[in-house]
Amino acid sequence: MNSTHDLEGRMTTDAKPDAVALPAPGQTSRQTSHQPRRQGALERLLRRKLAIIALVVIAIIVGAALFAPLVAPFDPSEQFFEGLTLEGAPLPPGERFWLGTDLLGRDVLSRLIYGAQTSLIIGLVANGIAVAVGALVGILAGFFRGWVETVLMRFTDLMMAFPALLLAITLAALFRPSLWIVAMVIAMVNWVQMARVVYTETRSLSEREFIVAERAMGAGLGRILFRHILPHLLSSIVVFGTLGISTTVLLEATLSYLGIGVQPPTPSWGNIIYENQTYFTSAPWLVFFPGVAIIALALAFNLLGDALREVLDPTQKGRH
Protein backbone atom coordinates (compact mmCIF):
# COMPACT_ATOMS: atom_id res chain seq x y z
CA MET A 1 0.00 0.00 0.00
CA ASN A 2 1.30 3.45 -0.83
CA SER A 3 1.67 5.82 2.02
CA THR A 4 1.65 9.55 1.53
CA HIS A 5 1.40 12.72 3.50
CA ASP A 6 -1.88 14.49 3.51
CA LEU A 7 -2.21 18.20 4.05
CA GLU A 8 -1.73 17.96 7.77
CA GLY A 9 1.51 16.13 7.16
CA ARG A 10 0.38 12.95 8.88
CA MET A 11 1.26 9.64 7.40
CA THR A 12 -1.86 8.15 5.95
CA THR A 13 -2.65 5.27 3.71
CA ASP A 14 -4.01 5.74 0.27
CA ALA A 15 -7.14 3.72 0.53
CA LYS A 16 -10.16 4.86 2.44
CA PRO A 17 -10.30 2.91 5.70
CA ASP A 18 -13.73 1.57 4.91
CA ALA A 19 -12.60 0.57 1.45
CA VAL A 20 -9.43 -1.21 2.53
CA ALA A 21 -9.44 -4.61 0.94
CA LEU A 22 -8.96 -6.67 4.07
CA PRO A 23 -7.77 -10.07 3.02
CA ALA A 24 -10.16 -12.84 3.81
CA PRO A 25 -8.77 -15.54 6.12
CA GLY A 26 -6.27 -17.70 4.33
CA GLN A 27 -5.64 -15.10 1.66
CA THR A 28 -2.47 -13.12 1.26
CA SER A 29 -2.77 -9.39 1.02
CA ARG A 30 -0.92 -9.11 -2.28
CA GLN A 31 -3.22 -11.10 -4.46
CA THR A 32 -2.65 -10.18 -8.06
CA SER A 33 -4.97 -12.61 -9.76
CA HIS A 34 -8.61 -11.64 -10.06
CA GLN A 35 -10.26 -14.76 -8.78
CA PRO A 36 -9.44 -14.73 -5.05
CA ARG A 37 -10.34 -11.07 -4.74
CA ARG A 38 -13.87 -11.61 -5.92
CA GLN A 39 -14.47 -14.37 -3.41
CA GLY A 40 -14.43 -11.79 -0.65
CA ALA A 41 -16.36 -9.21 -2.65
CA LEU A 42 -19.75 -9.90 -1.11
CA GLU A 43 -18.22 -9.91 2.32
CA ARG A 44 -16.54 -6.57 1.70
CA LEU A 45 -19.74 -5.19 0.20
CA LEU A 46 -21.66 -6.07 3.34
CA ARG A 47 -19.08 -4.27 5.45
CA ARG A 48 -20.23 -0.97 3.94
CA LYS A 49 -23.10 0.77 5.66
CA LEU A 50 -24.35 2.62 2.60
CA ALA A 51 -24.35 -0.58 0.57
CA ILE A 52 -26.43 -2.31 3.23
CA ILE A 53 -28.91 0.58 3.34
CA ALA A 54 -29.13 0.46 -0.46
CA LEU A 55 -29.71 -3.31 -0.43
CA VAL A 56 -32.42 -2.94 2.22
CA VAL A 57 -34.22 -0.25 0.20
CA ILE A 58 -34.01 -2.39 -2.94
CA ALA A 59 -35.24 -5.44 -1.00
CA ILE A 60 -38.22 -3.51 0.37
CA ILE A 61 -39.20 -2.23 -3.08
CA VAL A 62 -38.69 -5.60 -4.76
CA GLY A 63 -40.67 -7.29 -1.96
CA ALA A 64 -43.50 -4.79 -2.33
CA ALA A 65 -43.58 -5.36 -6.08
CA LEU A 66 -43.50 -9.16 -5.84
CA PHE A 67 -46.15 -9.40 -3.15
CA ALA A 68 -48.17 -6.38 -4.25
CA PRO A 69 -51.57 -8.11 -3.93
CA LEU A 70 -50.74 -9.12 -0.36
CA VAL A 71 -49.06 -5.92 0.75
CA ALA A 72 -51.27 -3.30 -0.86
CA PRO A 73 -54.13 -2.27 1.44
CA PHE A 74 -56.54 -1.70 -1.49
CA ASP A 75 -57.07 -2.44 -5.16
CA PRO A 76 -54.95 0.20 -6.95
CA SER A 77 -57.65 1.06 -9.46
CA GLU A 78 -60.65 1.11 -7.13
CA GLN A 79 -62.15 4.58 -7.02
CA PHE A 80 -63.44 5.09 -3.50
CA PHE A 81 -66.50 7.25 -3.06
CA GLU A 82 -65.24 8.14 0.40
CA GLY A 83 -61.76 8.66 -1.11
CA LEU A 84 -62.71 12.20 -2.11
CA THR A 85 -63.83 15.16 -0.05
CA LEU A 86 -67.37 16.47 -0.43
CA GLU A 87 -65.99 19.00 -2.92
CA GLY A 88 -64.42 16.15 -4.89
CA ALA A 89 -60.82 16.91 -3.93
CA PRO A 90 -58.23 14.20 -3.08
CA LEU A 91 -57.81 13.26 0.59
CA PRO A 92 -54.55 14.06 2.42
CA PRO A 93 -52.64 11.25 4.17
CA GLY A 94 -54.75 9.88 7.03
CA GLU A 95 -55.84 6.89 9.03
CA ARG A 96 -57.67 4.95 6.32
CA PHE A 97 -55.63 6.03 3.29
CA TRP A 98 -52.11 6.23 4.73
CA LEU A 99 -50.61 8.24 1.91
CA GLY A 100 -53.86 9.94 0.86
CA THR A 101 -55.86 9.51 -2.32
CA ASP A 102 -55.48 10.79 -5.87
CA LEU A 103 -57.87 12.89 -7.93
CA LEU A 104 -60.05 9.86 -8.70
CA GLY A 105 -60.23 8.79 -5.06
CA ARG A 106 -57.81 5.88 -5.45
CA ASP A 107 -55.44 4.87 -2.66
CA VAL A 108 -51.99 6.39 -3.31
CA LEU A 109 -50.09 3.78 -1.25
CA SER A 110 -51.62 0.90 -3.22
CA ARG A 111 -50.86 2.66 -6.51
CA LEU A 112 -47.26 3.20 -5.38
CA ILE A 113 -46.88 -0.48 -4.47
CA TYR A 114 -48.20 -1.61 -7.85
CA GLY A 115 -46.16 1.14 -9.51
CA ALA A 116 -43.04 -0.51 -8.09
CA GLN A 117 -43.76 -3.46 -10.40
CA THR A 118 -43.71 -1.14 -13.40
CA SER A 119 -40.48 0.57 -12.39
CA LEU A 120 -38.69 -2.70 -11.65
CA ILE A 121 -39.86 -4.52 -14.78
CA ILE A 122 -38.73 -1.64 -16.96
CA GLY A 123 -35.58 -1.15 -14.91
CA LEU A 124 -34.55 -4.79 -15.32
CA VAL A 125 -35.75 -5.48 -18.87
CA ALA A 126 -34.64 -2.21 -20.46
CA ASN A 127 -31.38 -2.17 -18.61
CA GLY A 128 -30.72 -5.85 -19.33
CA ILE A 129 -31.08 -5.25 -23.07
CA ALA A 130 -29.00 -2.08 -22.88
CA VAL A 131 -26.21 -3.86 -20.99
CA ALA A 132 -26.13 -6.82 -23.38
CA VAL A 133 -26.13 -4.66 -26.52
CA GLY A 134 -23.67 -2.16 -25.08
CA ALA A 135 -21.23 -4.81 -23.88
CA LEU A 136 -21.34 -6.67 -27.19
CA VAL A 137 -20.77 -3.53 -29.25
CA GLY A 138 -17.98 -2.41 -26.94
CA ILE A 139 -16.11 -5.74 -26.94
CA LEU A 140 -16.36 -6.18 -30.71
CA ALA A 141 -15.24 -2.63 -31.44
CA GLY A 142 -12.47 -2.64 -28.85
CA PHE A 143 -11.01 -6.00 -29.75
CA PHE A 144 -11.32 -6.26 -33.51
CA ARG A 145 -10.49 -2.65 -34.33
CA GLY A 146 -10.32 -1.91 -38.05
CA TRP A 147 -13.60 -1.43 -39.88
CA VAL A 148 -15.63 -3.13 -37.12
CA GLU A 149 -14.40 -0.49 -34.71
CA THR A 150 -15.02 2.32 -37.17
CA VAL A 151 -18.57 1.32 -37.97
CA LEU A 152 -19.64 0.52 -34.41
CA MET A 153 -18.00 3.45 -32.70
CA ARG A 154 -19.09 6.01 -35.30
CA PHE A 155 -22.63 4.76 -34.78
CA THR A 156 -22.12 5.08 -31.03
CA ASP A 157 -20.85 8.64 -31.58
CA LEU A 158 -23.96 9.32 -33.61
CA MET A 159 -26.14 8.08 -30.76
CA MET A 160 -24.17 10.23 -28.32
CA ALA A 161 -24.96 13.30 -30.39
CA PHE A 162 -28.69 12.78 -29.88
CA PRO A 163 -30.25 14.49 -26.91
CA ALA A 164 -31.29 11.26 -25.12
CA LEU A 165 -34.67 12.45 -23.92
CA LEU A 166 -35.62 14.02 -27.23
CA LEU A 167 -34.77 10.74 -28.98
CA ALA A 168 -36.74 8.72 -26.45
CA ILE A 169 -39.73 11.03 -26.82
CA THR A 170 -39.62 10.83 -30.60
CA LEU A 171 -39.35 7.03 -30.44
CA ALA A 172 -42.16 6.80 -27.89
CA ALA A 173 -44.31 8.96 -30.14
CA LEU A 174 -43.74 6.48 -32.95
CA PHE A 175 -45.58 3.69 -31.21
CA ARG A 176 -48.62 3.43 -29.02
CA PRO A 177 -46.83 3.32 -25.68
CA SER A 178 -47.04 0.12 -23.62
CA LEU A 179 -44.86 -1.25 -20.87
CA TRP A 180 -42.69 -3.24 -23.30
CA ILE A 181 -42.44 -0.50 -25.91
CA VAL A 182 -41.29 1.92 -23.22
CA ALA A 183 -38.69 -0.62 -22.10
CA MET A 184 -37.44 -1.02 -25.69
CA VAL A 185 -37.27 2.74 -26.23
CA ILE A 186 -35.24 3.17 -23.05
CA ALA A 187 -32.91 0.32 -24.00
CA MET A 188 -32.35 1.86 -27.44
CA VAL A 189 -31.30 5.10 -25.81
CA ASN A 190 -29.27 3.69 -22.92
CA TRP A 191 -26.89 1.10 -24.39
CA VAL A 192 -24.48 3.79 -25.54
CA GLN A 193 -22.90 4.45 -22.15
CA MET A 194 -22.09 0.77 -21.60
CA ALA A 195 -20.67 0.45 -25.11
CA ARG A 196 -18.28 3.34 -24.50
CA VAL A 197 -17.08 1.98 -21.16
CA VAL A 198 -16.56 -1.57 -22.42
CA TYR A 199 -14.94 -0.32 -25.63
CA THR A 200 -12.40 1.85 -23.84
CA GLU A 201 -11.50 -0.95 -21.45
CA THR A 202 -11.28 -3.67 -24.08
CA ARG A 203 -9.12 -1.43 -26.21
CA SER A 204 -6.64 -0.65 -23.46
CA LEU A 205 -6.71 -4.28 -22.28
CA SER A 206 -5.86 -5.64 -25.70
CA GLU A 207 -2.79 -3.39 -25.78
CA ARG A 208 -1.55 -4.48 -22.36
CA GLU A 209 1.56 -6.66 -22.12
CA PHE A 210 -0.17 -9.82 -20.93
CA ILE A 211 -2.59 -9.82 -23.84
CA VAL A 212 0.16 -8.98 -26.31
CA ALA A 213 2.19 -11.81 -24.75
CA GLU A 214 -0.77 -14.21 -25.07
CA ARG A 215 -1.12 -13.25 -28.70
CA ALA A 216 2.60 -13.66 -29.30
CA MET A 217 2.45 -17.12 -27.72
CA GLY A 218 -0.28 -17.99 -30.18
CA ALA A 219 -3.33 -18.09 -27.93
CA GLY A 220 -6.62 -18.49 -29.77
CA LEU A 221 -9.26 -15.80 -30.06
CA GLY A 222 -11.63 -17.58 -27.69
CA ARG A 223 -8.98 -17.99 -25.05
CA ILE A 224 -8.00 -14.32 -25.16
CA LEU A 225 -11.56 -13.02 -25.19
CA PHE A 226 -13.08 -15.28 -22.55
CA ARG A 227 -10.13 -16.15 -20.35
CA HIS A 228 -8.32 -12.82 -20.32
CA ILE A 229 -10.51 -9.96 -21.46
CA LEU A 230 -14.00 -10.82 -20.22
CA PRO A 231 -12.97 -11.41 -16.56
CA HIS A 232 -11.44 -7.95 -16.51
CA LEU A 233 -14.58 -6.44 -17.98
CA LEU A 234 -16.94 -8.18 -15.58
CA SER A 235 -16.39 -5.65 -12.80
CA SER A 236 -17.22 -2.74 -15.08
CA ILE A 237 -20.24 -4.49 -16.53
CA VAL A 238 -21.59 -5.25 -13.06
CA VAL A 239 -20.90 -1.73 -11.83
CA PHE A 240 -22.28 0.13 -14.84
CA GLY A 241 -25.12 -2.35 -15.15
CA THR A 242 -26.18 -1.51 -11.60
CA LEU A 243 -25.80 2.22 -12.15
CA GLY A 244 -27.75 1.85 -15.39
CA ILE A 245 -30.82 0.57 -13.56
CA SER A 246 -31.06 3.92 -11.88
CA THR A 247 -30.75 5.79 -15.20
CA THR A 248 -33.48 3.54 -16.61
CA VAL A 249 -35.83 4.11 -13.67
CA LEU A 250 -35.37 7.86 -14.04
CA LEU A 251 -36.00 7.83 -17.79
CA GLU A 252 -39.15 5.74 -17.38
CA ALA A 253 -40.41 8.13 -14.72
CA THR A 254 -39.71 11.11 -16.96
CA LEU A 255 -41.41 9.60 -20.01
CA SER A 256 -44.42 8.62 -17.90
CA TYR A 257 -44.50 12.09 -16.35
CA LEU A 258 -44.68 13.57 -19.85
CA GLY A 259 -47.58 11.23 -20.58
CA ILE A 260 -45.81 9.21 -23.26
CA GLY A 261 -44.47 6.43 -21.04
CA VAL A 262 -46.49 3.81 -19.24
CA GLN A 263 -50.15 4.66 -19.77
CA PRO A 264 -52.74 4.95 -17.00
CA PRO A 265 -54.60 3.09 -15.55
CA THR A 266 -51.44 0.93 -15.15
CA PRO A 267 -49.80 2.74 -12.25
CA SER A 268 -46.24 3.95 -12.62
CA TRP A 269 -44.52 6.38 -10.28
CA GLY A 270 -44.07 8.83 -13.14
CA ASN A 271 -47.65 8.71 -14.40
CA ILE A 272 -49.08 9.14 -10.89
CA ILE A 273 -47.40 12.54 -10.92
CA TYR A 274 -48.50 13.15 -14.52
CA GLU A 275 -52.15 12.44 -13.70
CA ASN A 276 -52.20 14.61 -10.61
CA GLN A 277 -49.85 17.46 -11.38
CA THR A 278 -52.58 20.06 -11.77
CA TYR A 279 -53.42 19.45 -8.12
CA PHE A 280 -49.89 19.83 -6.79
CA THR A 281 -50.47 23.15 -5.03
CA SER A 282 -53.47 21.85 -3.08
CA ALA A 283 -52.41 18.19 -2.84
CA PRO A 284 -48.60 18.14 -2.78
CA TRP A 285 -48.51 14.54 -1.45
CA LEU A 286 -49.53 13.39 -4.92
CA VAL A 287 -46.15 14.58 -6.19
CA PHE A 288 -44.14 14.10 -3.02
CA PHE A 289 -44.68 10.38 -2.33
CA PRO A 290 -44.16 9.09 -5.89
CA GLY A 291 -41.19 11.48 -6.18
CA VAL A 292 -39.64 10.07 -3.01
CA ALA A 293 -40.22 6.53 -4.30
CA ILE A 294 -38.44 7.28 -7.60
CA ILE A 295 -35.53 8.97 -5.84
CA ALA A 296 -35.24 6.15 -3.27
CA LEU A 297 -35.03 3.43 -5.94
CA ALA A 298 -32.64 5.37 -8.20
CA LEU A 299 -30.49 6.39 -5.24
CA ALA A 300 -30.33 2.83 -3.90
CA PHE A 301 -29.06 1.48 -7.21
CA ASN A 302 -26.57 4.33 -7.54
CA LEU A 303 -25.21 3.71 -4.05
CA LEU A 304 -25.05 -0.02 -4.66
CA GLY A 305 -23.28 0.50 -7.98
CA ASP A 306 -20.79 2.84 -6.37
CA ALA A 307 -20.11 0.42 -3.52
CA LEU A 308 -19.65 -2.39 -6.03
CA ARG A 309 -17.21 -0.25 -7.96
CA GLU A 310 -15.00 0.18 -4.93
CA VAL A 311 -15.37 -3.41 -3.77
CA LEU A 312 -14.68 -4.97 -7.16
CA ASP A 313 -11.81 -2.67 -8.01
CA PRO A 314 -10.06 -1.18 -5.00
CA THR A 315 -7.41 0.51 -7.15
CA GLN A 316 -9.99 2.78 -8.70
CA LYS A 317 -10.95 5.71 -6.56
CA GLY A 318 -14.29 7.26 -7.41
CA ARG A 319 -15.60 8.36 -10.76
CA HIS A 320 -13.17 9.59 -13.44
Binding site: F162, P163, L167, A253, A298
Partner: protein, 306 residues
Protein backbone atom coordinates in the same frame (compact mmCIF):
# COMPACT_ATOMS: atom_id res chain seq x y z
CA UNK B 1 -2.70 18.80 -34.30
CA UNK B 2 -4.07 20.69 -37.32
CA UNK B 3 -4.79 17.46 -39.16
CA UNK B 4 -6.50 16.14 -36.03
CA UNK B 5 -8.72 19.21 -35.83
CA UNK B 6 -9.64 18.93 -39.50
CA UNK B 7 -10.38 15.22 -39.11
CA UNK B 8 -12.52 15.86 -36.04
CA UNK B 9 -14.46 18.60 -37.84
CA UNK B 10 -15.14 16.27 -40.76
CA UNK B 11 -16.22 13.54 -38.34
CA UNK B 12 -18.54 15.99 -36.60
CA UNK B 13 -20.11 16.93 -39.92
CA UNK B 14 -20.65 13.24 -40.70
CA UNK B 15 -22.20 12.63 -37.29
CA UNK B 16 -24.60 15.51 -37.83
CA UNK B 17 -25.48 14.13 -41.26
CA UNK B 18 -26.18 10.78 -39.59
CA UNK B 19 -28.33 12.43 -36.93
CA UNK B 20 -30.34 14.21 -39.60
CA UNK B 21 -30.87 10.94 -41.49
CA UNK B 22 -31.90 8.93 -38.40
CA UNK B 23 -34.25 11.66 -37.21
CA UNK B 24 -35.73 12.04 -40.67
CA UNK B 25 -36.38 8.30 -40.89
CA UNK B 26 -37.98 8.20 -37.43
CA UNK B 27 -40.22 11.15 -38.16
CA UNK B 28 -41.11 9.73 -41.57
CA UNK B 29 -42.31 6.57 -39.84
CA UNK B 30 -44.53 8.42 -37.35
CA UNK B 31 -48.11 7.34 -38.01
CA UNK B 32 -49.49 10.80 -38.60
CA UNK B 33 -50.61 12.57 -41.73
CA UNK B 34 -49.20 16.12 -41.67
CA UNK B 35 -51.15 17.16 -44.77
CA UNK B 36 -54.48 16.26 -43.20
CA UNK B 37 -53.43 18.03 -40.01
CA UNK B 38 -52.64 21.25 -41.83
CA UNK B 39 -55.77 21.11 -43.93
CA UNK B 40 -57.98 20.69 -40.89
CA UNK B 41 -60.83 18.29 -40.27
CA UNK B 42 -63.35 19.72 -42.69
CA UNK B 43 -60.99 19.80 -45.68
CA UNK B 44 -61.84 17.86 -48.81
CA UNK B 45 -59.65 15.03 -50.03
CA UNK B 46 -58.58 17.27 -52.92
CA UNK B 47 -57.33 20.01 -50.58
CA UNK B 48 -55.38 17.49 -48.53
CA UNK B 49 -53.87 16.11 -51.72
CA UNK B 50 -52.87 19.61 -52.87
CA UNK B 51 -51.15 20.34 -49.58
CA UNK B 52 -49.38 17.02 -49.72
CA UNK B 53 -48.06 17.88 -53.16
CA UNK B 54 -47.11 21.40 -52.13
CA UNK B 55 -45.01 20.11 -49.23
CA UNK B 56 -43.47 17.35 -51.28
CA UNK B 57 -44.92 14.74 -48.95
CA UNK B 58 -46.03 12.63 -51.93
CA UNK B 59 -42.42 12.19 -53.04
CA UNK B 60 -40.47 9.01 -52.24
CA UNK B 61 -38.52 9.05 -48.97
CA UNK B 62 -35.04 9.66 -50.37
CA UNK B 63 -36.23 12.55 -52.50
CA UNK B 64 -37.81 14.17 -49.46
CA UNK B 65 -34.59 13.74 -47.52
CA UNK B 66 -32.36 15.14 -50.28
CA UNK B 67 -34.72 18.10 -50.63
CA UNK B 68 -34.50 18.70 -46.88
CA UNK B 69 -30.70 18.48 -46.93
CA UNK B 70 -30.36 20.89 -49.86
CA UNK B 71 -32.55 23.40 -48.03
CA UNK B 72 -30.60 22.79 -44.85
CA UNK B 73 -27.34 23.71 -46.56
CA UNK B 74 -28.89 27.10 -47.31
CA UNK B 75 -29.84 27.46 -43.65
CA UNK B 76 -33.48 26.68 -44.35
CA UNK B 77 -35.01 24.37 -41.76
CA UNK B 78 -38.41 24.41 -43.41
CA UNK B 79 -41.71 25.83 -42.21
CA UNK B 80 -43.70 24.83 -39.17
CA UNK B 81 -46.80 22.90 -40.22
CA UNK B 82 -49.08 24.57 -37.72
CA UNK B 83 -47.56 27.95 -36.96
CA UNK B 84 -46.81 28.75 -40.64
CA UNK B 85 -43.50 30.32 -39.63
CA UNK B 86 -39.94 29.53 -40.59
CA UNK B 87 -38.52 26.96 -38.13
CA UNK B 88 -35.18 28.80 -38.06
CA UNK B 89 -37.01 31.96 -36.93
CA UNK B 90 -38.89 30.06 -34.21
CA UNK B 91 -35.69 28.51 -32.92
CA UNK B 92 -33.73 31.76 -33.12
CA UNK B 93 -36.45 33.49 -31.11
CA UNK B 94 -36.35 30.80 -28.40
CA UNK B 95 -32.60 30.18 -28.26
CA UNK B 96 -31.56 33.12 -26.05
CA UNK B 97 -33.90 31.93 -23.26
CA UNK B 98 -32.41 28.43 -23.40
CA UNK B 99 -28.84 29.72 -23.44
CA UNK B 100 -29.60 31.92 -20.43
CA UNK B 101 -31.05 28.94 -18.59
CA UNK B 102 -27.99 26.85 -19.41
CA UNK B 103 -25.64 29.58 -18.22
CA UNK B 104 -27.58 29.67 -14.95
CA UNK B 105 -27.42 25.89 -14.69
CA UNK B 106 -23.64 25.83 -15.30
CA UNK B 107 -23.22 28.45 -12.59
CA UNK B 108 -25.37 26.45 -10.15
CA UNK B 109 -23.73 23.11 -10.83
CA UNK B 110 -20.20 24.47 -10.49
CA UNK B 111 -20.97 26.50 -7.38
CA UNK B 112 -22.77 23.66 -5.60
CA UNK B 113 -20.77 20.75 -6.99
CA UNK B 114 -17.26 22.11 -6.60
CA UNK B 115 -17.93 23.39 -3.09
CA UNK B 116 -19.37 20.06 -2.00
CA UNK B 117 -16.48 18.14 -3.58
CA UNK B 118 -13.85 20.38 -2.02
CA UNK B 119 -15.32 20.13 1.47
CA UNK B 120 -15.79 16.37 1.11
CA UNK B 121 -12.15 15.90 0.05
CA UNK B 122 -10.84 17.97 2.95
CA UNK B 123 -13.08 16.14 5.42
CA UNK B 124 -12.30 12.79 3.84
CA UNK B 125 -13.81 9.78 5.61
CA UNK B 126 -15.73 11.82 8.16
CA UNK B 127 -19.52 11.84 8.49
CA UNK B 128 -19.47 15.19 6.63
CA UNK B 129 -17.83 13.48 3.66
CA UNK B 130 -20.34 10.63 3.68
CA UNK B 131 -23.29 13.01 3.98
CA UNK B 132 -22.05 15.16 1.10
CA UNK B 133 -21.47 12.14 -1.12
CA UNK B 134 -24.94 10.72 -0.37
CA UNK B 135 -26.34 14.17 -1.17
CA UNK B 136 -24.44 14.27 -4.46
CA UNK B 137 -25.87 10.88 -5.33
CA UNK B 138 -29.33 12.10 -4.42
CA UNK B 139 -28.86 14.95 -6.89
CA UNK B 140 -27.93 12.46 -9.59
CA UNK B 141 -30.85 10.18 -8.65
CA UNK B 142 -33.59 12.80 -8.70
CA UNK B 143 -35.76 13.23 -11.77
CA UNK B 144 -35.77 16.86 -12.81
CA UNK B 145 -39.55 17.12 -12.93
CA UNK B 146 -39.76 16.05 -9.27
CA UNK B 147 -37.10 18.55 -8.19
CA UNK B 148 -38.72 21.26 -10.27
CA UNK B 149 -42.24 20.70 -8.94
CA UNK B 150 -41.05 20.43 -5.32
CA UNK B 151 -38.89 23.57 -5.59
CA UNK B 152 -41.89 25.37 -7.10
CA UNK B 153 -44.13 24.16 -4.27
CA UNK B 154 -41.78 25.16 -1.46
CA UNK B 155 -40.16 28.37 -2.74
CA UNK B 156 -42.82 29.76 -5.04
CA UNK B 157 -46.18 28.55 -3.70
CA UNK B 158 -45.52 28.25 0.03
CA UNK B 159 -42.80 30.83 0.69
CA UNK B 160 -43.55 33.08 -2.27
CA UNK B 161 -39.88 34.00 -2.75
CA UNK B 162 -39.86 33.29 -6.46
CA UNK B 163 -42.42 33.57 -9.27
CA UNK B 164 -44.31 30.36 -10.10
CA UNK B 165 -43.06 30.32 -13.66
CA UNK B 166 -42.38 32.48 -16.67
CA UNK B 167 -39.49 34.45 -17.92
CA UNK B 168 -38.05 37.92 -17.68
CA UNK B 169 -36.33 38.82 -14.43
CA UNK B 170 -33.44 37.36 -12.48
CA UNK B 171 -35.90 35.87 -9.99
CA UNK B 172 -37.51 33.85 -12.78
CA UNK B 173 -34.13 32.32 -13.57
CA UNK B 174 -33.22 30.99 -10.12
CA UNK B 175 -35.45 27.92 -9.71
CA UNK B 176 -35.16 26.59 -13.29
CA UNK B 177 -31.35 26.99 -13.23
CA UNK B 178 -31.17 25.19 -9.90
CA UNK B 179 -33.37 22.36 -11.21
CA UNK B 180 -31.32 21.96 -14.38
CA UNK B 181 -27.99 22.29 -12.55
CA UNK B 182 -28.61 19.92 -9.64
CA UNK B 183 -27.95 16.79 -11.69
CA UNK B 184 -24.59 18.08 -12.89
CA UNK B 185 -23.77 19.34 -9.40
CA UNK B 186 -23.91 15.74 -8.17
CA UNK B 187 -21.39 14.65 -10.79
CA UNK B 188 -19.11 17.63 -10.20
CA UNK B 189 -19.10 17.04 -6.45
CA UNK B 190 -17.86 13.49 -6.98
CA UNK B 191 -15.33 14.47 -9.64
CA UNK B 192 -14.01 17.36 -7.56
CA UNK B 193 -13.64 15.13 -4.51
CA UNK B 194 -11.64 12.48 -6.33
CA UNK B 195 -9.61 15.09 -8.26
CA UNK B 196 -8.71 16.83 -4.99
CA UNK B 197 -7.74 13.54 -3.34
CA UNK B 198 -5.52 12.75 -6.33
CA UNK B 199 -3.85 16.15 -6.28
CA UNK B 200 -3.32 16.22 -2.52
CA UNK B 201 -1.34 13.02 -2.88
CA UNK B 202 1.13 14.52 -5.39
CA UNK B 203 4.73 15.32 -4.59
CA UNK B 204 4.43 19.00 -5.44
CA UNK B 205 1.89 19.45 -2.68
CA UNK B 206 4.32 17.95 -0.19
CA UNK B 207 7.04 20.22 -1.59
CA UNK B 208 4.81 23.25 -1.21
CA UNK B 209 4.12 22.29 2.39
CA UNK B 210 7.78 21.54 3.02
CA UNK B 211 8.96 24.93 1.78
CA UNK B 212 6.77 26.48 4.45
CA UNK B 213 3.63 27.63 2.66
CA UNK B 214 0.54 27.97 4.81
CA UNK B 215 -2.18 25.37 4.50
CA UNK B 216 -4.56 27.83 2.83
CA UNK B 217 -1.86 28.87 0.37
CA UNK B 218 -1.16 25.28 -0.55
CA UNK B 219 -4.85 24.56 -0.90
CA UNK B 220 -5.93 27.50 -3.04
CA UNK B 221 -2.60 28.26 -4.69
CA UNK B 222 -1.64 24.74 -5.70
CA UNK B 223 -4.20 22.06 -4.99
CA UNK B 224 -7.52 23.58 -6.11
CA UNK B 225 -6.30 25.02 -9.45
CA UNK B 226 -4.78 21.68 -10.38
CA UNK B 227 -7.89 19.75 -9.41
CA UNK B 228 -10.14 22.26 -11.15
CA UNK B 229 -8.58 22.28 -14.62
CA UNK B 230 -9.57 18.80 -15.81
CA UNK B 231 -13.05 19.34 -14.39
CA UNK B 232 -13.61 22.63 -16.20
CA UNK B 233 -12.84 20.82 -19.46
CA UNK B 234 -15.89 18.65 -18.79
CA UNK B 235 -18.38 21.52 -19.11
CA UNK B 236 -18.56 20.94 -22.85
CA UNK B 237 -19.88 17.45 -22.23
CA UNK B 238 -22.67 18.78 -19.99
CA UNK B 239 -24.39 20.22 -23.05
CA UNK B 240 -25.76 16.74 -23.71
CA UNK B 241 -27.29 16.54 -20.23
CA UNK B 242 -28.76 20.00 -20.62
CA UNK B 243 -30.28 19.29 -24.01
CA UNK B 244 -32.26 16.45 -22.46
CA UNK B 245 -33.01 18.40 -19.30
CA UNK B 246 -34.45 21.49 -20.97
CA UNK B 247 -37.44 19.61 -22.40
CA UNK B 248 -38.65 18.78 -18.88
CA UNK B 249 -37.40 21.81 -16.97
CA UNK B 250 -38.75 24.32 -19.48
CA UNK B 251 -42.16 22.71 -19.51
CA UNK B 252 -42.36 22.54 -15.69
CA UNK B 253 -41.45 26.23 -15.34
CA UNK B 254 -43.08 27.54 -18.51
CA UNK B 255 -39.67 28.75 -19.71
CA UNK B 256 -39.96 29.91 -23.33
CA UNK B 257 -36.91 28.11 -24.74
CA UNK B 258 -36.32 25.53 -27.44
CA UNK B 259 -37.06 22.67 -25.03
CA UNK B 260 -40.65 23.84 -24.65
CA UNK B 261 -40.82 24.51 -28.39
CA UNK B 262 -39.78 20.90 -29.02
CA UNK B 263 -42.19 19.46 -26.49
CA UNK B 264 -45.15 21.42 -27.90
CA UNK B 265 -44.14 20.38 -31.42
CA UNK B 266 -43.96 16.72 -30.39
CA UNK B 267 -47.44 16.86 -28.93
CA UNK B 268 -48.80 18.39 -32.15
CA UNK B 269 -46.59 16.25 -34.42
CA UNK B 270 -45.17 19.41 -36.00
CA UNK B 271 -42.38 17.52 -37.72
CA UNK B 272 -40.23 20.39 -39.13
CA UNK B 273 -39.87 21.85 -35.62
CA UNK B 274 -38.97 18.49 -34.03
CA UNK B 275 -36.42 17.97 -36.79
CA UNK B 276 -35.00 21.48 -36.38
CA UNK B 277 -34.66 21.34 -32.60
CA UNK B 278 -33.08 17.87 -32.74
CA UNK B 279 -30.50 19.12 -35.25
CA UNK B 280 -29.74 22.27 -33.28
CA UNK B 281 -29.36 20.18 -30.08
CA UNK B 282 -27.12 17.69 -31.84
CA UNK B 283 -24.96 20.55 -33.17
CA UNK B 284 -24.62 21.90 -29.64
CA UNK B 285 -23.71 18.48 -28.24
CA UNK B 286 -21.15 17.79 -30.99
CA UNK B 287 -19.66 21.24 -30.51
CA UNK B 288 -19.47 20.74 -26.73
CA UNK B 289 -17.69 17.40 -27.09
CA UNK B 290 -15.36 18.88 -29.69
CA UNK B 291 -14.40 21.76 -27.39
CA UNK B 292 -13.91 19.39 -24.46
CA UNK B 293 -11.53 17.28 -26.56
CA UNK B 294 -9.66 20.35 -27.78
CA UNK B 295 -9.22 21.75 -24.30
CA UNK B 296 -8.12 18.48 -22.66
CA UNK B 297 -4.53 18.33 -24.08
CA UNK B 298 -3.99 22.01 -23.32
CA UNK B 299 -4.71 21.26 -19.69
CA UNK B 300 -2.97 17.91 -19.44
CA UNK B 301 -0.10 17.58 -21.94
CA UNK B 302 0.00 13.83 -21.28
CA UNK B 303 -3.17 13.54 -23.37
CA UNK B 304 -2.20 13.23 -27.01
CA UNK B 305 -4.55 13.94 -29.87
CA UNK B 306 -4.40 11.25 -32.48
Amino acid sequence: MVSYVIRRLLQSALILLGVSLVTFILLYLIPADPARQIAGRSATAQTVENIREQLGLNLPFYEQYVRYLLNLLQGDLGRSYLQKTEVSELIAARLPATLLLMAGAIFCELLIGLTMGLVAALKRNTPTDTTLMVLSFTGVSSPQFVIGILLLYVFAVQLGWFPIGGYGTFMHLVLPSLTLGLLGAGWYARMMRSAMLDVLRQDFIRTARAKGLKRVQVLFGHAVPNALLPIIAMIGIDIGLFMSGIVVVESVFGWPGIGQLAWQAIQRVDIPIIMGVTLVSACAIVLGNFLADMVAPLIDPRIKLR
